[in-house]
Symmetry: C3
Subunit: 134 residues, 3 copies
Amino acid sequence: MTEKTAVTPATHTAPPAKFSHGVKKGNILQVAGQVGFLPAVEGQPPTPAGDTLRAQTLQTLANVKAVLEEGGATWEDVIMMRIYLTDTAHFAEFNEMYDAYFADLKSVPAARTTVYVGLPAGLLVEIDALAVLG
Amino acid sequence: MTEKTAVTPATHTAPPAKFSHGVKKGNILQVAGQVGFLPAVEGQPPTPAGDTLRAQTLQTLANVKAVLEEGGATWEDVIMMRIYLTDTAHFAEFNEMYDAYFADLKSVPAARTTVYVGLPAGLLVEIDALAVLG
Amino acid sequence: MTEKTAVTPATHTAPPAKFSHGVKKGNILQVAGQVGFLPAVEGQPPTPAGDTLRAQTLQTLANVKAVLEEGGATWEDVIMMRIYLTDTAHFAEFNEMYDAYFADLKSVPAARTTVYVGLPAGLLVEIDALAVLG
């Protein structure tokens, strides 16, 4: 019996419903959809890092990374990233940031799917990730 | 060679195309996108449980659960849920139902990503799930 | 330590950002979101197979298949397909093609989730796939 554990960085705001920011079972680590919320401050509601794609993207990647690290993984373990944007006009700018962010990646980059969806008001990007460890 | 098997609850309507409601291979069980269709009645087309978010959400969760159980899994084995809603205004009500539904969950909750997409006319919610068994 | 490798068919255009068309780690092969681009021609930008759902769907399936084969997998190993369409009116025609394409599948069909999203201008369909080998 492999244990299923929650992966919850101390920086993260409580999820808005009964789900975990990350779940690890066996060698699989699934990171829940992360958005650009700043590190949690007790007594304050979740606050986006800013209203620009840049600010939110960098914070979202930092939030995914925090879950990975809390679960004992790194970007190098990630096999799939799902990118949810709200506007096709954001694709080029998003990719520029994405490429710069992963410039020093020590493994081949993860696979990726990018689609354009609706997100809660004020949010411009959501990212989840699947890692296989070991 | 690990066998890949279809997981098909007796209650389920035939998929509208050549896909399986669930697929199991090794210790992985993938549940296909479920919507709020009532249990199949021979000779009748798939019928949503109702036109409210509540009716469809509860039926959708029941349909995911039926696939899990047919595959020898429980909600406790699920590591990821993907939630597709059609309207950001549904988020709060959906979460209330979600939290109540999983109130007695014996494991940490699954990770989750929620996005807002288009669905076929009349459908308000779709959910798929990834379980790791054993 | 299981190696994570990129799976890159020779036919494929370079990804528009730092991601891999496919990634294999252990017995898991993740195919990135594929669209209906024709085989790469050096010095030319990615070109869709046509502007019809039929042309793009068949090319997209061919592109997914190319990644599977490059990774040592076949359609029979696929447990999940994620289908992104842009118009609910495309569902019936898409399913007809899908069923015909998989008519000779030697295993049970993969699970599937289909949702309707925005895609870059001119693209009507995107598909990614998860395979478990062995």
